[in-house]
């Protein structure tokens, strides 16, 4: 026991004397949270909209005011603009969208019972274009209801009352946070431990260490413990940033969240140790981590691209990515406030992964030089 303690203390010396690694460990989460929380947002706000109102009457004025009143658009009006000029403006990127109200808008509406408006959106960014069209359609639909307030004309209308559950205000960073948490822990834990054992091989210290009566399991535990504690500290930092910087409340049990995260961290550490045991240089280990771990983690966790939309084989592959399960757990516990009974399956999967990875890592520990 005392041997293990001194071994762990030695590993702590290594970690704390390597300032660069510490910086990566604690700098990465801050950068990622800020990036994903603020910059990489799929909400569309403050879009430039050009309104070409050829009607210039009371009704078209009402519609324009209504659009102007919404927070989504920065409205620019130019009643006399020609079609070619509109296209030129879109092409140059000076505006993202245009709404054209024809000259006989009010007449058509009042007498003919229907009128047309044209919405043009810059489709080179399809997501934004789609969102703009949706926003405008909704506003116009609202407007329509106001105009035909009398039920005689539209006797039956179905009004969908929408509620975005667990995220009423449609906060975009909410979906990213569990994903970012999974991603950061996966990268930090795996990458840092993956160099830990191989570093001793590279520096030659493994040569001396091997010619001693220590047990491989002791090395692995000693290597993992400092990173486990640091990762939990790291996780706390991420949570604090989430709550205080991004204004996201933790709905479920914080204790459960910590326990699940610890389990996930152990899984990642085991994977890191395994990589460290089978590689021969720190560079290889890091490359494997970054290339072979980071991309699959981003793709198969499901926080950027929904897993449900993927081809079947990819969905199957995603099952072996630990962060995928952790992502589900965090979403359930942190955002939905569910208890352990709702995430026990995912927990079991992670637990199984941790145990098998640790076992394979131990089996792959080389007791001789190659």
């Amino acid at each position: 026991m005392k041997q293990l303690f001194i071994f762990i203390r030695k590993e702590f010396y290594h970690v704390f004397r390597d300032k660069r690694t510490l910086l990566i460990m604690f700098g990465l989460p801050v950068v990622q949270i800020v990036l994903f929380g603020f910059a990489l947002n799929n909400e569309v706000k403050n879009v430039e909209l050009l309104i070409v109102d050829k009607a210039q009457d009371a009704l078209s004025g009402q519609l324009t005011d209504k659009i102007r009143a919404s927070a989504y658009f920065i409205v620019e009006e130019d009643p006399g603009m020609a079609y070619t000029a509109i296209e030129a403006k879109l092409k140059k990127g000076n505006t993202k969208s245009a709404l054209i109200i024809p000259a006989n808008f009010s007449d058509d509406l009042k007498h003919g019972g229907s009128a047309q408006v044209q919405i043009i959106a810059d489709g080179s960014d399809p997501n934004v274009a789609k969102t703009i069209v949706n926003y405008l359609s909704r506003i116009i639909g609202d407007f329509q209801k106001q105009v035909f307030a009398t039920p005689s004309i539209m006797p039956y209308t179905i009004v969908p009352e929408m509620r975005m559950l667990y995220n009423e205000e449609g906060n975009g960073s909410l979906n990213f946070i569990p994903g970012v948490m999974a991603l950061i822990l996966m990268i930090v834990c795996t990458a840092l431990t993956s160099v830990s054992v191989v570093k001793e091989k590279e520096m030659g210290t493994m040569e001396v260490l091997l010619v001693s009566p220590f047990k491989p399991i002791m090395v692995l535990i000693a290597k993992a413990v400092p990173y486990l504690l640091l990762s939990i500290a790291n996780f706390t930092l991420i949570l604090l940033l989430t709550v205080f910087l991004l204004d996201i409340a933790i709905k479920g049990s914080i204790l459960l969240l910590f326990l699940e995260s610890t389990l996930f961290i152990i899984t990642c550490l085991s994977l890191g140790l395994l990589i460290s045991n089978v590689t021969a240089s720190q560079q290889t280990a890091l490359l494997i981590c970054l290339m072979a771990m980071m991309l699959p983690t981003i793709i198969f966790t499901g926080f950027i691209m929904p897993l449900e939309n993927m081809p079947k084989p990819f969905q199957v592959i995603s099952n072996i990515v630990p962060s995928r399960w952790y992502f589900l757990i965090v979403k359930s516990v942190m955002l939905k406030g569910l208890g352990f009974q709702s995430v026990w399956k995912e927990t079991l999967v992670l637990f199984g992964m941790a145990i098998s990875l640790l076992f394979i890592a131990l089996k792959n520990f080389k007791i001789r030089l190659q």
């Binding site: 005392k2 041997q3 001194i6 071994f7 030695k10 010396y13 290594h14 004397r17 390597d18 520096m203 030659g204 210290t205 040569e207 001396v208 260490l209 091997l210 010619v211 001693s212 009566p213 220590f214 007791i367 001789r368 030089l369």
Partner: protein
């Protein structure tokens, strides 16, 4: 009968799936309490032998015993009983002297205090710097620290792979003095070195070349076995003399050795010195100096090497 601390029987080691032969059928025995030297140039196979003896590598053929234990079967016992110092400095550079020592003592389940008398001599010399990180030490101090770490668990056999390579002359001398004192404590020491002048500091030596043992004996006997008279020759233009002498049919070998040429003749002449001087002067060399000298280990090594070829 003396006890054998280390024995190798027909040990063979190849790398790259048999393409590179590093150790070629080596058999040798080191007695308990002996200071034994493996002498040979880089690439002779010394490090491979050390790694096999420390159970870090498996030999492709042959068997070996260290401290009475079989290399393959009882590798854990051996790892407990040997002290190993690799050729490359292999301690934790980011830990201090004190932390390195504490760590290695702990790995072996002992403490620095327990075997302090064994390392005291050496440790005293680096003690003033005990809070300095190992990576910031000079070559000589690193080597003393590494020796301390290898000794901290009072090993039965000490395996030192080129401990004096890259170390200054004074530190090298100090190091060999330390080894002698350790030997007096009854520790068997197997040490390798590419420096021929260190060979005579060992009790027995093995001369190695290209994975093969050329000779195993005491340094004195190896020198005594030198079969011919050895002359040291020099003139104003040593290089021209080397070329001239090598062309003579009577000259068996001629090579540069410091400022002199070392020469042996095919048949020992009674007046070899006079003969050589005459030959040289006839070729037009000036300030010719010839003397009969005692061969050194290096002369023996070169001779054995040439014979092998």
């Amino acid at each position: 009968m003396e006890k054998i601390a280390v024995s190798l029987n027909h040990i063979t080691k190849t790398y790259d799936k048999g393409k590179v032969l590093a150790v070629d059928d080596v058999s040798l025995q080191v007695k308990q309490g002996e200071l034994f030297g493996l002498i040979g140039p880089d690439g002779a196979g010394k490090t491979s032998i050390f790694r096999i003896l420390t159970t870090l590598l498996l030999a492709n053929g042959g068997t070996a015993n260290v401290a009475g234990y079989d290399l393959v079967k009882d590798f854990r016992e051996i790892r407990n009983r040997v002290g190993y110092m690799p050729g490359k400095f292999s301690l934790y550079q980011d830990l201090t002297i004190q932390e390195n020592l504490d760590f290695f003592a702990n790995v072996f389940g002992t403490s620095m205090a327990q075997n302090y008398e064994l390392i005291q001599d050496i440790y005293d010399q680096i003690k003033p710097f005990k809070d300095r990180r190992a990576g910031k030490l000079s070559g000589g101090m690193k080597q003393k620290l590494a020796l301390c770490c290898a000794l901290i668990h009072k090993p039965e056999v000490l395996l030192l792979d080129e401990p004096t390579t890259g170390v200054d002359v004074v530190s090298r001398k100090e190091f060999w003095d330390m080894l002698k004192r350790l030997k007096q404590q009854g520790i068997t020491i197997l040490v390798s070195t590419p420096y021929m002048d260190e060979a005579k500091l060992c009790e027995r030596i093995a001369l190695m070349q290209q994975g093969r043992l050329m000779s195993v004996n005491t340094p004195d006997n190896i020198v005594k076995d030198f079969p011919a008279k050895l002359y040291a020759v020099k003139s104003k233009n040593v290089y021209a003399l080397l070329i001239d002498l090598r062309q003579l049919a009577e000259v068996q070998s001629c090579y540069a050795f410091g400022e002199f040429l070392h020469v042996t003749l095919k048949s020992d002449k009674v007046d070899g010195e006079d003969w050589l001087r005459h030959v040289a002067e006839r070729k037009g060399h000036e300030q010719v100096l010839v003397k009969l000298i005692e061969p050194s280990i290096e002369d023996s090594f070169i001779r054995l090497m040439n014979e092998e070829e």
